[in-house]
């Protein structure tokens, strides 16, 4: 995949990681106590029954997700560094392309000339070859 498509994919990955991070944090966060008068909620009966808290521990998940987010951002920076250097602006590029096109036309014409000359020589050689074989056949005595 070319580098710009990779950069675009990386931007989308960062976006997906960001909102997955916030979504997961929001889903798994403890409820906020609205007033000190309210009693504490009962503790969960069995931690292993709840797969979300068991799988990654509420304190582990943010670390893993933020590490992934930072890694994706660093990859983006690496991809940006890998971009080829921008030589000049649009006009400079167009001028160089026009020069190359002129050179391409000149080389194409030279190629055409060489081809025509080579084809002419081929015809001449074929004629000569035909004449030589005719001469050989005529000189050959019939047995």
């Amino acid at each position: 995949m070319d580098i710009i498509s990779q950069l675009q994919e990386q931007v989308n990955t960062i976006a997906a990681l960001a909102f997955n991070t916030f979504g997961t944090l929001q889903r798994d966060a403890h409820p906020v106590k609205l007033s000190p008068n309210y009693p504490d909620p009962p503790p969960p009966s069995n931690p292993t029954e709840d797969p979300a808290t068991a799988a990654g521990n509420v304190s582990e998940q943010p670390k893993l997700m933020t590490a992934a987010l930072v890694k994706a951002a660093k990859q983006f920076d690496a991809l940006v560094a890998a971009l080829p250097p921008a030589e000049g602006g649009e006009e400079v590029q167009l001028k160089r392309i026009a020069e190359l096109q002129a050179e391409n036309d000149a080389v194409g014409q030279e190629l055409q000339r060489q081809l025509e000359a080579a084809e002419k020589e081929l015809k001449e050689v074929q004629e000569l070859f035909g004449q030589a074989t005719d001469n050989c056949l005529n000189l050959k005595r019939p047995d």
Partner: protein, 164 residues
Amino acid sequence: MATATYPPPPPYYRLYKDYLQNPKSAPEPPPPIEGTYVCFGSNYTTDDVLPTLEEQGVRQLYPKGPNIDFKKELRSLNRELQLHILELADVLVERPSQYARRVEEISLIFKNLHHLLNSLRPHQARATLFHILELQIQRRKQVVEDIKRSRSSMMRTAITEYLS
């Protein structure tokens, strides 16, 4: 224009009855369209250009101008994005009701990032064209050399054969 689920073919085919005998008796094909046209109910334009951010109603965060340093702008936008994500996390902890503004800013940064990457595409197209032209010139020069070489070797063999 008639719109139907299964419209019949257009009646122009009758005009081409004697096309094989006389190609000039049938009408010429229509000229290429310029400007905007309607296709299956929606409007399309023949001028494919990337609309600027202002045209889409989005604020442009990176500086305008003819020559943009893409690498620098991309890196600074990336840094701003990370900062805004951190800010959003802070806001959700301290003042959860004010998340909307931060989310809007994050989406603005993403739109700017994508627009910047899309504006790199014409540059990439020109660079690809440049590369293709260079390759073509190289191949043509190679073929010219090969033809010259084989012609000269053929001449030499013909002369040696003639002399022997």
